[in-house]
């Protein structure tokens, strides 16, 4: 009886949140497995995710999962993306490479040796061959998942989660064809560590169609100039900053950048991204993430999406 009441309650909440999943069925499965039901209420409507990305002034922090949920599924696999959607992650970062015969696939390394059952460089291999392979899990064991194409990944992400396409800048014209086909233009974020003039020249035709995010390395002497140039001429949705030391003066500028309308993205992945306030330290003590909040960072890329979501939700900084 208690289960039924809970089921009805969460079904109603599901509708209120505009949840696209079949809540009734989902909830009963979840109760059976004894898991936390609320987690299945995601994803939020894509318009909310996009709205939050564009809004630099609210206190909601955007969580970006590096290579998908690679702890529980192979990195850059469809399952790794699905896990992120189920968790309530806002954006998934995936790596795009082109095969010898022009297929766009998800693969981090230049070679397929580490993450698949095959060997060789992506650019020297055909899609026909790659389709015969399987992905490996985190300790290198073959698992039933296959290498996904960009198209499959975007179809899965459509209306569910924002996407950051890494390694795609030089093959973006080809990526954009797939983005258009799948109707995911307004969900895609591209980044580059280059000044505005160069982006305008190389990437100009896409600037109005997808989100372009400049990467700025804070320890470089011209970082302030690069930022101001972008702010006045493009007003990007966000800047990604690399912060090797937490004593850098530019950190004090983050609040101002937010006031001017651009969000601030810093990676929690490795110590040199964030002056040593990284995911590994946070695994021992989640309050390590306080540094991000205190410094007005509102987009965080992480290797521990569940830990970061738990941290943010406990502080009302994430839905």
């Amino acid at each position: 009886m208690k289960v039924n009441v809970l089921g009805i309650l969460f079904f109603v909440i599901g509708i209120l949140f505009g949840c696209r999943q079949e809540s009734n069925e989902t909830v009963s499965t979840v109760v059976k497995e004894g898991r936390e039901v609320e987690k299945r209420l995601y994803p939020l409507p894509i318009d909310s995710l996009i709205g939050n990305l564009k809004n630099a002034h609210n206190d909601q922090v955007i969580v970006v999962a590096h290579r998908g949920d690679w702890r529980n599924a192979p990195e850059n696999s469809l399952q790794a993306i699905e896990n992120c959607i189920a968790m309530g992650v806002d954006m998934v970062e995936i790596d795009i490479r082109e095969t010898k015969d022009g297929q766009l696939i998800l693969m981090h390394d230049e070679t397929i040796d580490r993450t698949t059952t095959g060997t060789g460089k992506v650019k020297e291999l055909t899609w026909a061959y790659l389709q015969t392979l399987y992905l490996r899990d985190g300790i290198g064991h073959e698992i039933h998942h296959k290498i996904p194409t960009l198209k499959e990944a975007l179809e899965l992400c459509k209306d569910n989660i924002l996407v950051n396409l890494d390694k795609s800048y030089t093959i973006f014209n080809k990526c954009y064809e797939i983005i258009k086909q799948t109707g995911t233009e307004n969900q895609v974020v591209i980044k580059g560590a280059i000044p505005y003039d160069q982006v305008k020249k190389e990437f100009g035709s896409y600037l109005d169609n997808v989100f372009f995010m400049p990467i700025v390395r804070l320890h470089q002497p011209d970082s302030r100039t690069v930022v101001d140039d972008y702010l006045s001429r493009l007003q990007p949705v966000a800047f990604e900053f690399t912060v090797p030391q937490d004593t850098l003066k530019m950190i004090e500028y983050f609040d101002d950048i937010r006031q001017q309308g651009s969000s601030v993205w810093v990676n929690a992945l490795w110590p040199h991204h964030n002056g040593g306030h990284d995911d590994e330290k946070a695994a021992l003590n989640p309050e390590i993430y306080d540094w991000f909040i205190e410094n007005h960072i509102d987009i965080i890329q992480t290797d521990r999406p569940q830990l970061l979501l738990d941290y943010l939700r406990a502080r009302n900084l994430h839905y």
Binding site: R67, E75, T115, G138, I139, H141, L269, W270, E280, A283
Partner: protein, 310 residues
């Protein structure tokens, strides 16, 4: 015998209390190994919780302790200068930022390396632990199953266990026959907990088991089976009849006739872990310790744990 089991285990605990000794978590785990039961299935985590921290690292082991895992499986290899370290592969290439064979590197050289995480990123601060560090961390908290020791480094490992006072907290295992082990290690075999492994290419599994039971009376066997028609699978029933603990390895298809961790995601845990339990598993080795523990708890197969915690 079986139905008196809870009483037997409790009696053991009271006996220990009677001696004014503190019952450690490892005492209760050992009691479960000695008294396999239908009510409690042991969770064994493969290489630590490698989804949480690098495989065979101290944080990956600590995570297993925190989750309430019973046994952590660790790979042990000998360095060039005779130290034992936790490392799966013969080389350090895949799991660290260095390269070369463990057997051709000194402990100092290995300690200068840093482990990679499971997406291959070289950024962690985590070092390769020695067996001694592993045993110090796990002592009284979780049992350790030692892989890659087999019939090769039992003496060296035993010295570390003696030094750290953990001889009764480590489970050796191997594929060699009891005759081979006895000839090589003599009475040392009687001082350690040894779990024979029935692997695909075990010759005459039935005789392998009979000889071990006669000569050493092992308290547990690791049994792998590619299908339900394999000779190894047939040994499970015999072991059950003798109340001997059976460990199943849910990692890959060929070890459990397809009833893997991965199957639990695709078809639900009843189809995989549930099947293994119905087919004789007293313990399950997994790559998904958190999910397995949740499943076992849900099925009422972990009931005694909290009562025994000190």
């Amino acid at each position: 015998m079986k139905k008196y089991l809870p009483f037997t285990v409790w009696a053991l605990c009271f006996a220990l209390v009677g001696q004014a000794q503190e019952i450690s978590r490892t005492d209760t785990i050992l009691a479960h190994l000695q008294n396999p039961s239908q009510d409690y299935v042991l969770a064994v985590s493969h290489r630590g919780d490698w989804r949480y921290a690098p495989e065979n690292s101290l944080p990956a082991i600590q995570r297993c302790i925190d989750l309430g895992v019973d046994i952590v499986e660790i790979d042990v290899r000998l360095t060039k200068d005779g130290h034992l370290v936790a490392m799966h592969d013969t080389t350090v290439d895949r799991t660290t930022n260095g390269s070369g064979k463990v057997s051709e590197l000194t402990l100092e050289e290995i300690k200068s390396l840093r482990l990679k995480n499971a997406c291959g990123v070289r950024g962690s601060r985590i070092q390769v632990p020695t067996l001694e560090e592993v045993m110090q961390l796990t002592k009284d908290k979780i049992m350790v199953n030692l892989d890659k020791v087999e019939g090769e480094t039992v003496r060296e490992v035993y010295q570390v266990l003696e030094k750290t006072g953990t001889v009764q907290q480590a489970i050796f295992k191997g594929r060699e026959t009891v005759a081979f082990m006895r000839a090589k290690y003599g009475s040392l075999l009687d001082s350690i907990i040894y779990m024979p492994i029935l692997i695909d290419n075990t010759k005459n599994p039935s005789r392998f088991v009979e000889e071990y039971n006669r000569e050493l009376s092992p308290l547990a066997y690791e049994v792998t089976f590619a299908s339900e028609t394999s000779e190894n699978y047939k040994q499970i029933l015999k072991l059950k009849e003798q109340d001997i603990f059976v460990l199943h390895i849910a990692l890959w298809d060929a070890l459990v006739a397809g009833h893997t961790d991965e199957m639990s995601l695709l078809e639900g845990p009843d189809a995989s872990w549930g099947w293994l339990i119905a087919n004789g598993a007293n313990g399950i080795m997994t790559d998904r310790p958190k999910a397995l523990l949740a499943y076992l708890q849900n099925k009422g197969l972990r009931n005694n744990t909290t009562d025994w915690k000190k």
